[in-house]
């Protein structure tokens, strides 16, 4: 099972490239996509999901060109877009039955799967209510359920935990980890802790280009001796933010404890701290913008 992206590009109007020269080889596991707003993550995911046609480059699924034969991938694809709707007059069961039918699942398997999925996303009690009356978080859970209907080999989820309460978020993260064994999961989110908890690989994207792709531990290793903590006076903070990448601040009785990402020791009193993914994100993206 392999998804190969080679020199992928998408040009929008007036020569603006949403994504350019994007190459990546993805194997089973969870790939976390991290990048600022407008970095090209959603464009990339829509192209993988066969919704948007690339301007340049190729996407191959197990050696088959997806742009030429999109159904090869669609048969094994589960996709949760960032922004999607539902049919308000159908209830969750009817909507999932509809999606199962167009995804080509047989009736018996679909029924069993829908029952399991409704339990999984905690919608059993609301399953017979029209979707028009669902809250944002409940609709998001219906979206998650539909993405998993066909037991996809490639699962693409764009900001999946938006609108979920903390408990549901943890459930979903556990679910992703559980699912990732023999399939490819591509997860895009702004919530770094979601990626930290689940991703086996991380791709950092900015301005339509792939900056880095590596295992989280390798990214963190690169940041060893580059994260510093010390306490400053509140008045000094604005000047410090101008000078360094500040990844965190904590108010204390004697001032503000700052956390700075820097290749050099920024101040004499600064002490080395253990890096986390948020530091890595800021170092690779924030510091290089």
């Amino acid at each position: 099972m392999q998804l190969t992206i080679n020199k992928l590009g998408k040009e929008y109007k007036r020569g603006f490239w949403g994504l350019k020269d994007f190459s990546l080889e993805i194997k089973p596991g969870i790939l976390g996509l991290l990048g600022p707003n407008g970095a090209g993550k959603s464009t990339f995911m829509r192209m993988l999901a066969t919704i948007t046609k690339p301007t340049d480059g190729t996407i191959t699924w197990n050696g088959v060109d997806v742009v030429k034969s999109p159904d090869t991938l669609r048969d094994v694809l589960g996709y949760l877009p960032q922004d999607f709707g539902v049919y308000p007059n159908l209830n969750a069961v009817e909507f999932l039955e509809y999606m199962a039918a167009i995804k080509g699942l047989d009736a018996a398997s679909a029924k069993k799967r829908i029952d399991e999925l409704l339990q999984l996303v905690n919608l059993v009690e609301a399953a017979k209510r029209p979707l028009g009356g669902y809250s944002g978080g409940m609709k998001q859970r219906v979206g998650i359920a539909q993405a998993l209907l066909n037991d996809p080999q490639l699962l693409i989820v764009d900001e999946p935990t938006v609108g979920l309460d903390p408990e549901e978020r943890v459930r979903f993260r556990n679910l992703l980890s559980d699912l990732s064994g023999e399939r490819i999961v591509i997860l895009s989110t702004h919530i770094v802790s979601d990626v930290e908890a689940t991703a086996t690989h991380i791709a950092l994207v900015n301005k339509g280009q792939l900056l880095r792709e590596d295992a989280p531990e390798n990214l963190l290793k690169e940041l060893e001796n580059k994260v510093w903590e010390w306490t400053v006076q509140s008045d000094d903070l604005p000047a410090l933010k101008q000078k360094h990448i500040v990844s965190g601040t904590i108010r204390r009785s004697d001032g503000v404890q700052v956390r700075v990402v820097s290749a050099e020791k920024p101040e004499a009193q600064a002490e080395n701290a253990s890096p986390n993914l948020e530091d890595a994100y800021l170092y690779f993206i924030g510091g290089k913008q």
């Binding site: 919704i51 009817e94 167009i102 699942l105 999984l120 609301a126 009356g133 408990e167």
Partner: protein, 520 residues
């Protein structure tokens, strides 16, 4: 002062948002097409067998009638939707958190609607000048005689149409497809109703479209030259030949007439303020709640302790045999999507119409009952082909396998089945009576309706285009016997030789449109 600034910016932002849309170019194109059709003589004003000399007053009067009739009728559909856009984009919720009041909002929308309509009127007015000069009958352009009918007749009506559009959007049950139908028939029925009133002869300026005012003045002039004038007044094609022309120099705009006409602008403002009363200010809690069968446990789920261990999610893996595409299941699902969401009385009325089709003689069914049965599901058909876009589900459905081969045919067949169900009583009646011509017309119409719905839905992405097209065809053909448009065969054989091939073209057009959407 502050309020004026709010209204200005509301109207300005709304106007700019509209004019920067592709659909706005289409609107202007339609106005230009109307002007062109008038320029080449396909649309013209006649008083019986006579017409006025093409001087500034006559051309101004004629273009004013064309503007009030066509832009007044169809312009409503072009400007309606601005409040809905604020609702759909979420901008409305942001606006609702500002000090903006309901009247300011509706006034802003009214001004924007009015500006868009008047822009189309300006295009027609420009064509009018060209028409006068091309005709060569009078080369002297009298600006005031030409423009005053636009100012005193067209402008007040456009203000009224703009206000009605805001009012319809503010009233929940008129904001959707039902409102579109109400306006269509309201507009077309209003004119004869008002013209029949006696007071119109005394105060013609009271008639909102200005037709009575122009007719009264023009009639006076034509009778001086042609005493045999039969009092008819036509706006249309070139079927009736012109046997004489007369010179009409325009209306004498007295203060009373001007005040009456401008009173319509006052009425428009009142309607806009009335709309403010109904406007929910984007508060979803003011919407009528859906009737949901729910138990107490549905509305108040038992609290879950966060300290308990979260269950580990487990899903049974699907085996390869689970892949079993069944077209019939997609079709049933599409049928459910079409038919769900109607109130109980909708189904009762539908059943009543089906039975009435069967219970009446073949001729009555063709002329009256079947056309009624085939206008009833208009809002069901109008969702075909655009439901995915309307509900923002397209990313989910278009990323499923073979959307072109699975979903699109199922959508068309579901529409075809609904159409046939509504005509089942008529089909049975025609079969029993041996009315094979009626039966053939019925099937060609049943083929045509979902095809038109699918093509319109796919290409426009909204339900509005089908609703307007279908109502126009239905009104002109089966109801008003316009040859070639009587697709049901109410007063003819139904033209299956034309509608079946045309339906095939429409289906091909829909397939092309959907494949374009999929290619993005």
């Amino acid at each position: 002062m502050k309020s004026a600034r709010v209204i200005y910016h509301l109207a300005r932002a709304d106007f700019l948002e509209r004019v920067r849309r592709y659909s706005f170019l289409v609107m202007l194109g339609l106005a230009a097409l109307l002007g062109y059709q008038t320029a080449i003589g396909n649309v013209r004003l006649q008083l019986g067998d006579y017409r006025g000399e093409f001087n500034s007053a006559w051309v101004g009067g004629m273009m004013s009638i064309i503007a009030t009739f066509f832009i007044g009728w169809f312009g409503f559909y072009l400007v309606k939707g601005s409040v809905a856009r604020d609702r759909e984009t979420g901008v409305g919720q942001i606006m609702a958190t500002t000090p903006m009041t309901r009247p300011l909002y509706t006034l802003g929308k009214w001004i924007s609607n009015f500006a868009v309509l008047m822009l189309m009127v300006v295009i027609l007015a420009i064509f009018g000048i060209v028409i006068q000069l091309l005709s060569g009958e009078s080369t002297q352009v009298n600006i005031s005689a030409y423009l005053l009918p636009f100012v005193f007749i067209v402008m007040p009506l456009m203000a009224l149409v703009a206000a009605v559009a805001v009012l319809f959007e503010a009233i929940p049950f008129l904001s959707g497809g039902f409102g579109n139908i109400v306006y269509f028939f309201g507009f077309i029925m209003m004119l004869p109703l008002i013209m029949e009133q006696d007071f119109i002869n005394t105060y013609p300026a009271i008639e909102p479209m200005g037709l009575a005012l122009l007719k009264a003045d023009m009639t006076e002039e034509v009778l001086k030259v042609f005493p045999d004038y039969d009092n008819s007044f036509m706006l249309g094609g070139m079927d009736t030949p012109i046997i004489g022309t007369f010179t009409w120099t325009g209306i004498e705009w007295t203060p009373a007439i001007i005040a009456t006409r401008f009173a319509f602008i006052g009425l428009a403002i009142l309607l806009t303020l009335l709309a403010a009363i109904f406007f929910d200010r984007f508060d979803p809690s003011r919407a009528k709640p859906k009737r949901i069968k729910s138990t107490a446990s549905d509305s108040a789920p038992a609290p879950v302790s966060t300290s308990q261990a979260l269950p580990t999610p487990r899903l049974t893996p699907l085996n390869a045999a689970a892949n079993g595409f069944s077209f019939s299941r997609v079709l049933v699902a599409e049928l459910k999507l079409l038919l769900k969401g109607q109130r109980w009385w909708w189904y009762i009325a539908a059943a009543g119409l089906i039975i009435a089709c069967f219970a009446n003689p073949s001729a009555t069914t063709r002329e009256i009952v079947l056309p009624m049965a085939w206008i009833w599901p208009i809002l069901i058909w109008s969702a075909i082909g655009n439901r995915e876009i309307h509900n923002n589900v397209q990313q989910l459905t278009f990323s499923s396998a073979s959307p072109l081969m699975r979903q699109l045919p199922a959508q068309w067949i579901a529409g075809f089945i609904v159409t046939l169900i509504m005509a089942s009583g008529a089909a049975l009646r025609f079969t029993i009576d041996g009315d094979t011509v009626g039966l053939l017309a019925l099937f060609s119409a049943a083929f045509f309706i979902p095809s038109l719905a699918l093509a319109s839905g796919v290409w426009s992405g909204t339900s509005k285009l089908f609703e307007i097209l279908y109502m126009v065809i239905w009104y002109l053909g089966p109801l008003n016997k316009v040859p070639g448009l009587d697709f049901i065969g109410s007063h003819s054989n139904g033209y299956p030789q034309m509608f079946i091939p045309f339906s095939i073209v429409l289906i091909a057009f829909a397939v092309f449109g959907r494949s374009r959407q999929l290619r993005n």
